[in-house]
Amino acid sequence: MIARADRSRMPEPGPVPPTRFPTVACRQLSNGLALRTVEHPGPPVVTFWLMMPVGSAADPAHAHGLAALTADLLDEGSVERNGRAFHEALAGIGARLGTEVGPDSTTISISTVVQHALEGVGLLAELVARPRFDPADVGRVRDLRRSRVQQLRSDSGAVADRVFIETLFEGHPYGHLGLGTAASLASLTTGDVVAFHRDAYHLGSATLIAVGALSHQQLGDAAEQTFGALPVLPADPGVITAPADLATVGPSATRLVLVDRPGAVQSELRIGHVAVARDNPDYHALQVLNVVLGGQFVSRLNQRLREEKGYTYGVRTGFDCRRAPGPFALHGSVQADATTESVQEVLTEMAAIGADRPVTAKELEMARAALTRGFARGFETAGQVARGVASLVLHGLPAEYYDRFVPAVEAVDAVAVTAAATAHLRADEAVVVIVGPAEALASELTGLGLGEPLQVEA
């Protein structure tokens, strides 16, 4: 006879099982290229990531979109074979190519099944070291990306992202999206792409990360056979701007920006300001603060705007911690007739958490628990592990960092959270970007006390 569960109270979970980030082996290939390997037993999958600490912030001022265009063009073929043959080779081993260009880094990755590990990493080396950059391909892919820019002008989320970053980081290397603009893309040439590739993809500052159901030895051998003979030049200081050299950005003079979307049933919102870099000593306190404020479903802002008011499908906040100070932002869309009230709620909660309504003991416990007890979930797949290692490398963190993360979060107390909020969350400097029906909104928005909205084009 099975005993029935006791429904008079919820079961209390026992001690959390110990969990460790897998061991990251660090070495150099014979040509000096930095290699990180992680053994990840499980499904027969392997992933190779080449991470270069050069991203869209390295776009020349007249050439926004160049870093991303260059990365996008890699799979159009190599010196050895054209794009079609290259993709046939990829498809033939069931490999997936990934390209990510962020503000601070570019990552090119190939994932495949373990029996094709060597061919997979070989294709990665081929496209990174010897891209074809045929002018016909450059023109065609550039035009595709221009079409994308045009298309995104009718996507309210993409418009809000762009206007928000342009307002916060006006004139700064972080002040544009990686895609670039229609005008900047139009001016890009094959020469620009070839030069950017020469300066940014020289492997002197790159790291190859290999994670999969193979041994360190097997992963390293595959890397050596493919990347080990490539030339590795030292990093070019002209291209890679050290974080310390990125100019600091003051508060934006513009507080309220409105992009008209006539008749829209919702307003897309971005609210925030320039905050902190990844190396900020308050990093862990900020993670806890963010969970309480808007970083997960059970957070002050989502509970208020979704679960109490029903104004939105959901809102989230986050500190985007880059090599130089990045944005803190609230993301979300709310029904149009609740726009002003929702913005006011966000600004109020941003101000309150460092002042008259600091985190409660219960909130603190929940936030720390969510970050620490959920830790194991974040490193289940080879791709998740590779992403974690890439982040360590980019930010110069030690290979054991993830084992220090849990104790560091557990050490965050209420005083630290309040101090972090006071230091790094500034409701009175926040920029509010709204993509919504201007005619219906314009008059009531003045009630926010942020001045007349600056109206810009989508």
């Binding site: 026992g14 969990t19 033939g92 298309q151 049933v265 939105t312």
Partner: protein, 439 residues
């Protein structure tokens, strides 16, 4: 490919356990065999609205379900489609009992806690989900227009899962109570627990929490009307629709009725989709995007569902290009594939691409499309959680001639062509298109 044990409790609940000890997490995944296909006209969207209510508390924990699970380091979510509703938690193994306690409490004891206040709040949230995901998103209403045309009003796939806004507004708390009483029974559910767990211990925990819940009445059958059932005459004419939307570039959707999930021809249609639009080696990408540069993007998919399927091709026009050109170019490729079939190397690449998906899909134990979700899917749709092996094998038997034959069917009359064009540019739709009715 996956080891599992399956048990069925006396109340009809299927219990599947899959052990994987690599990561100290446990996945709880619960499928209810109810979706928007079980709704009635005038109350579309109810299955999905109901899913939201399942997170708002039950008799013995009358507040949100996110708080205790996030506190335990878990993640959780749910989703609804036309055929089923699923709920899942991924937790550190120490919180497995908590997740089972909560899942069983909302199956056994939801209604005492389901108040009109919660109902009204989640109705507003769902209306905002609809605005965000469909109404205010470029091309967001296209799927609604397509399924409404492909499936007659007496077919349960006529409406999309999000439902009509007016129906969502018209739904009542009584509707929600009745829906729960009709469909949320152990016998209409499949529970998978996977991860760093012990099968015998899991079974004991599951019995402690779920055995007390009564079996409930039989589930009412889903009815397909006579205009849509197997005996209905196939469409003899193409349908052309247009939708004006807040978009920069016109887009063409072509859609056909196609085999249902696991039926004859279903796997073959996946290969047709792969040959036509799977990546940069595919025929339509090469021709329309790369060579002729008349389209900026292309995709094709076989959307196979439990009762029926639909195959669709989507192509977005490059600036200055017109949809008639795109349609002609697609028809040329369909014709070529129907005439000659894929060549050997092409078919071999498609096999590989489809086959490795089965391996990539093994990487996560929980969440949407993780192993526990797949075990439940196979169990609900075939009765065999281990059907993955047959699922994978059915692709290997497909010949080039069969792919050609399936492509040939796409040449027969009866398809729906939907032009989504910038507002004010109705003339850029395919000639003869009539306005689609969407809300």
């Amino acid at each position: 490919m996956l080891d599992f044990s399956k048990f069925t409790l006396e109340n009809g609940l299927d219990v599947i356990v899959h052990e994987d000890h690599r990561c100290p997490i446990a996945s709880v995944n619960l499928w209810y065999h109810v979706g928007s296909k079980n709704e009635r006209a005038g109350r579309t969207g109810l299955a999905h609205l109901f899913e939201h209510l399942m997170f708002e508390g039950s008799a013995h924990h009358d507040s949100g379900y996110f708080a205790p699970l996030q506190q335990a380091g878990g993640s959780l979510n749910g989703s609804t489609n036309c055929d089923r509703t699923n709920y899942w938690e991924v937790v550190p193994t120490n919180a497995l009992e908590l997740a089972l306690w909560l899942e069983s409490d909302r199956l056994g004891y939801l209604l005492p806690a389901l108040t009109s206040e919660k109902f009204e709040n989640q109705r507003e949230v769902v209306l905002n989900e609809r605005r965000q995901t469909y109404e205010n998103r470029p091309y967001g209403l296209a799927l609604m227009a397509l399924t409404a045309s492909l499936f007659a009003t007496d077919h349960p796939y006529h409406w999309t899962t999000i439902g009509h806004a007016d129906d969502i507004r018209a739904a009542t708390l009584d509707d929600a109570h009745a829906f729960f009483q009709t469909y949320y029974h152990p016998g209409n559910a499949s529970l998978t627990v996977a991860g760093d767990v012990d099968t015998a211990a899991v079974l004991e925990l599951v019995r402690q929490h779920f055995e007390e819940i009564p079996a409930g009445p039989p589930i009412p059958p889903v009815r397909i009307g006579e205009n849509s059932g197997p005996g209905a005459a196939p469409r003899s004419e193409d349908t052309r629709l247009r939708l004006e939307d807040r978009v920069a570039l016109p887009r063409l959707y072509l859609a056909w009725r196609s085999p249902r999930l696991f039926a004859e021809g279903d796997a073959g249609m996946d290969l047709v989709a792969e040959v036509l639009a799977g990546g940069k080696t595919s025929r339509l990408y090469r021709r329309l995007v790369h060579e002729r540069q008349i389209a900026t993007e292309i995709s094709a998919s076989q959307g196979s569902r439990e009762l029926d399927g639909w195959f669709s091709i989507m192509a977005t026009a490059a600036p200055g290009q017109e949809l008639v050109e795109l349609e002609q170019a697609i028809d040329d490729e369909l014709h070529a594939l129907a005439e000659s079939g894929p060549d050997e190397a092409e078919l071999s690449r498609c096999f590989t691409q489809v086959d490795v998906q089965f391996i990539y899909r093994l990487q996560t134990v929980g969440g949407f499309n993780g192993r526990s979700d797949q075990l439940n899917a196979y169990n609900v749709y075939t009765g065999d959680p281990g059907f993955m092996n047959q699922d994978r094998a059915r692709y290997r038997e497909i010949t080039a001639g069969q792919v050609a034959g399936l492509a040939h069917r796409l040449r027969e009359p009866g398809r729906v062509a939907l032009s989504v064009v910038p507002a004010g540019s109705a003339d850029r739709a395919l000639p003869g298109s009539r306005p689609a009715v969407v809300s």
